[in-house]
Amino acid sequence: MSKLHISATVNGEAVEYLCDPKQTLLDVLRDELNLTGSKEGCSSGDCGACSVTLDGRLVCSCLVLGVEMQGRSVETIENMASGEELHPLQQKFLEAAALQCGFCTPGFLVAAKALLEKNPNPTETEARYWLAGNLCRCTGYDKIIRAVLETAADMRGSK
């Protein structure tokens, strides 16, 4: 099958790419657009390492076809910091040592950002369930959950 020409918005910028129908959005991001911050851990939607937001909705980019993206908009970890300023979640993850190997970290940050946009004051249980689709094997989740809850409190306080 020949490749399809797709026009989409990636991290606020208009992009065009050629895409085999079988390629996933994750394949497109990593291999065609060189945005390797989204990670492939399972290709089945079970680990969350490839989390992005698609038209504002949190999804696994391994479960979206690249050809579905025509006219759609995706945000990845690469666009989370603005300029030299980290997003408060990124800063808190660093301060709270909420990462060890760092492989799952982009997915957690993208998912946590989506959580706080929807629910600025999550309980520990809400945060744990929201992030249940993001697997981490290093931290036992403790410092990640604390970092998310503390960032939420900081962001509420600064408003």
């Binding site: 085999d20 079988k22 394949d27 990593r30 291999d31 060189n34 945005l35 390797t36 911050g37 989204s38 990670k39 492939e40 851990g41 399972c42 290709s43 089945s44 079970d46 680990c47 390492a49 990845t76 970890i77 690469e78 989370m80 910091a81 980290l86 990124q90 993850f93 660093l94 301060e95 709270a96 040592a97 990462l99 060890q100 190997c101 760092g102 492989f103 799952c104 970290t105 982009p106 940050l109 520990e124 249980t125 945060a127 744990r128 369930y129 992030l131 249940a132 993001n134 697997l135 981490c136 094997r137 290093c138 931290t139 036992g140 989740y141 403790d142 410092k143 990640i144 959950i145 604390r146």
Partner: protein, 755 residues
């Protein structure tokens, strides 16, 4: 070791942001699969669908003709290796290792690699795999360790003869080895026991579950030089083994360490790099091989299934009088099961004068069984802690009291021979004993479980270089991959010795051509051993600085001392000199003898054993068997915590893995010997909503074998959770279960059976 006792640390023990942190929260950090070279091809591996079969033929002609396919290889492309272990092989059987990477005449497990292709796209590579025609003659298989040890079991290898038995066997067997270690005379000593508990246990194989699949990019140049970018727990290991397996010289190969997305022992051995190199060589283009999650489960190095008998006898007052354990550990298709460490660690937390540990290892039709965090110890410890808990119940004794009463401490002789030096076992037990969790009342269907764990920790070879720039900032380089924050620990130790700000130290993980040899990141050795190399290399810089300043001041080097990053007169006879900072000395380096380069290369002994004690509360749904972990507290002796946040992180991560091991994780095989749950959907590692916060308590009983008192911290956290959870479930349900994992169906069946 001299110089640091009683010292108040300025940097060691603080919690700064890790040097590699920003790259990892912005997606910039490069892991194994992120490398993309010009002209790079996609490599894919064809794997056996059979548990055990003879390879009759492999026809790759159709695949080779497919447009876009640039190389196809099979086992025939790998050089033949000597079958056996020769001096200089460091205990590695290269024939086995090579045969695991690519099957030669037989496939020995579902997922065993048989061929590989490199093509211009993933889709073409996958199509090419489907065009490779492998004819198999299926053989009977064996998955279970007890069945594998039977004399009539399907035989995997005709060249394995059980070692450690008398007389030497003449017939080949799946049983690789028998080992035994003993103190005193346990058989006689059991006669003095008032209560004896003897139980048999079975556990299932589990996977390390790192989120990053194995990935490697290889490039071959016309002059025979080769570069490999990969994620591993030791790029020097990758270089050594690739060179040996492909009959190359080590210096021909340059291995670049990518960031590593978790390993836990599973990335301490080689799986795909030689395949990538051979494909790149044949295709004359760079090749990237990345395992799928299915391949990771089927074709990497999970931890063993086991079958264990433990017997412990005690006096009425709780004094343990004798203990024995027989530990039957499954290996994968090739030898390599950690039954030795399992025997050594099983009874580690207890002072026993009459004790025996016997170990067996048997090959099975499963993927290579390899290291997973404190290899072997969680399983043997689970059995011992379960039996001990039952003894405490029988004696109506507090489970903590029996552990403190019998706890090993400085001077205790271990079953493997030596006596313990200063250790923190009792300190951990007492920290848990006085923890507020004990005061929380338990509700219906709830139980509290306690367990202790031991791991001896490793030292070994490490190198480090410290380069001081002209402005006094430092670049420090080691060859130890940073798997969980070790760059931060290295920088803290260097800052401490050099006396400069942590922010002025940049740690680098150097490639195999840039820095001296470092053993793999394993056995909790990096902060200890590579850290010791960093300390010595930094001390080398301090000495050089004092020597330079002595020249400037025209005094003896002893007249110059080093404090807080400055050279100072050591006493009045040095004259009235103003302190010189490292930056000032570095600025004059050209005129005092050239660049300031400090280095150290060591083979570190003196690794201090680690102890950990865990307590947890669970609730069991009596109608479904579902277990909820309500609370979890873990105390551990870190010797000296260099970066306490990452020590806590090691403890919390180990606990989470251990909880998964206890409750839900298992390799599930069908009758056909094929793995049925090779994905994260049905191989159930804990998710965020499965766990409570994990209270990590760090104790510091300094290791006399390290200048700062450091002990490895990464292994022991996974040892106690299996026992702690099992003991809590036993107390919540009133039923003691001996088969892991404790899945809801098993728990419900056990509850119903006990009614």
């Amino acid at each position: 070791m001299a110089g640091y006792e009683g010292k108040t640390f300025k940097w060691v023990g603080t919690r700064p942001i890790r040097p590699d942190g920003v790259d990892k929260v912005t997606g910039r950090a490069n892991y194994g699969a992120d490398m993309n070279l010009p002209g790079q091809l996609t490599g894919r591996i064809l794997r056996s669908p059979h548990a055990h079969a003879k390879i009759v033929s492999i026809d790759t002609s159709k695949a080779e003709k497919l447009t876009g396919v640039k190389a196809v290889i099979t086992g025939k492309d790998f050089p033949d290796m000597h079958n056996g272990v020769m001096p200089g092989d460091e205990g590695v059987n290269f024939h086995h290792l090579s045969s695991n990477i690519m099957a030669k005449h037989k496939v020995l497990y579902d997922g065993h690699a048989v061929a590989a292709v490199a093509a211009t796209s993933a889709a073409i590579a996958e199509e090419a795999l489907s065009l490779i025609d492998v004819k198999y003659e299926i053989l009977p298989h064996v998955i279970d360790v007890d069945l594998s040890m039977q004399p009539d079991a399907p035989l995997l290898h005709d060249d394995i003869f059980t070692s450690g038995v008398n007389p030497k066997p003449e017939k080949p067997s799946n049983v690789v080895q028998r080992i035994q270690m003993q103190l005193g005379d346990p058989d006689a000593a059991f006669k003095d026991a008032d209560v004896i508990v003897e139980r048999s246990f079975k556990t299932k194989a589990v996977h390390q579950g790192y989120i990053e699949p194995h990935a490697a990019v290889a490039e071959w140049s016309e002059d025979g030089q080769c570069r490999i970018w990969c994620s591993s727990q030791g790029h020097f290991m990758i270089r050594t083994l690739t060179a040996r397996l492909l009959k190359m010289e080590a210096a021909q190969i340059r291995v670049m360490p990518a960031e590593i997305g978790g390993g836990f022992g599973g990335k301490t051995i080689i799986f795909i790099e030689p395949t990538a190199v051979l494909l790149a060589r044949k295709a004359k283009r760079p090749v990237r091989v990345v395992m799928s999650r299915d391949e990771v489960f089927r074709g990497s190095g999970p931890a063993p299934a086991t079958s264990i008998d433990v017997k412990i006898g005690a006096k009425k007052d709780g004094t343990l009088v004798a203990a024995t354990g027989e530990f039957r550990y499954q290996a994968g298709a090739f030898p390599g099961s950690p039954v030795g460490p399992a025997c050594m660690a099983a009874f580690g937390p207890y002072a026993l004068t009459h004790v025996r540990a016997t170990g067996y290892e048997a090959v099975t039709n499963r993927p290579l069984c390899y290291s997973y965090r404190a290899p072997g110890a969680p399983l043997s410890s689970f059995a011992v802690e379960s039996v001990l808990d039952e003894i405490a119940q029988k004696l109506d004794m507090d489970p903590m009291e029996i552990r403190i009463k019998n706890g090993s401490k400085e001077g205790t002789q271990m079953v493997y021979g030596p006596k313990l030096k200063a250790v923190g076992n009792l300190e951990c037990l007492k920290a848990i004993q006085s923890h507020p969790i004990n005061k929380i009342p338990l509700g219906p269907n709830q139980g509290r479980g306690l367990a202790a764990g031991f791991w001896f920790n490793l030292g070994g070879q490490s190198s480090a270089v410290v380069n001081i720039a002209e402005d006094g900032t430092a670049t420090i380089m080691t060859g130890s991959p940073d798997i969980g924050g070790s760059r931060a620990s290295m920088a803290l130790m260097a800052a401490e010795v050099l006396g400069i700000d942590y922010s002025k130290v940049r740690p680098i993980v150097g490639d195999t051509s840039a820095v001296g040899f470092c053993e793999i990141t394993h056995g909790s050795r990096v902060t200890f051993a590579t850290g010791m190399a960093i300390i010595q290399a930094s001390e080398d810089i301090v000495l050089q600085c004092r020597q330079r300043v002595a020249k400037m001041w025209e005094v003896d080097v002893d007249a110059v001392k080093w404090e807080d990053g400055h050279a100072l007169p050591a006493g009045a006879n040095a004259g009235d000199q103003k302190p010189l900072s490292l930056a000032q000395i570095a600025g004059k380096a050209a005129r005092t003898g050239g660049p300031l380069v400090g280095s150290a290369a060591i083979n570190a002994g003196g690794a201090g054993p680690a102890f950990g004690v865990h307590i947890c509360d669970v609730e069991v749904d009596p109608e479904t068997g579902h277990v909820t972990v309500l609370r979890y507290v873990a105390a551990q002796d870190a010797g000296k915590a260099i970066h306490p946040s990452y020590v806590e992180g090691q403890i919390q991560g180990g606990v989470a893995q251990g909880v998964g091991w206890a409750l839900n994780e298992e390799y599930i095989y069908g009758e056909d010997g094929r793995l049925q749950n090779s994905g994260f959907l049905d191989y159930r590692i804990p998710v965020a909503s499965d766990l409570p916060m994990i209270d990590a308590i760090i104790l510091e009983v300094p290791n006399p074998g390290h200048p700062f008192g450091v002990r490895g911290v990464g292994e022991v956290p996974i040892v106690p959770p299996l026992g702690a959870i099992a003991n809590a479930v036993a107390r919540a349900t009133g039923v003691r279960m001996t088969d892991l994992p404790l899945t809801p169906p098993k728990i419900l069946a056990a509850i119903d059976a006990a009614k």
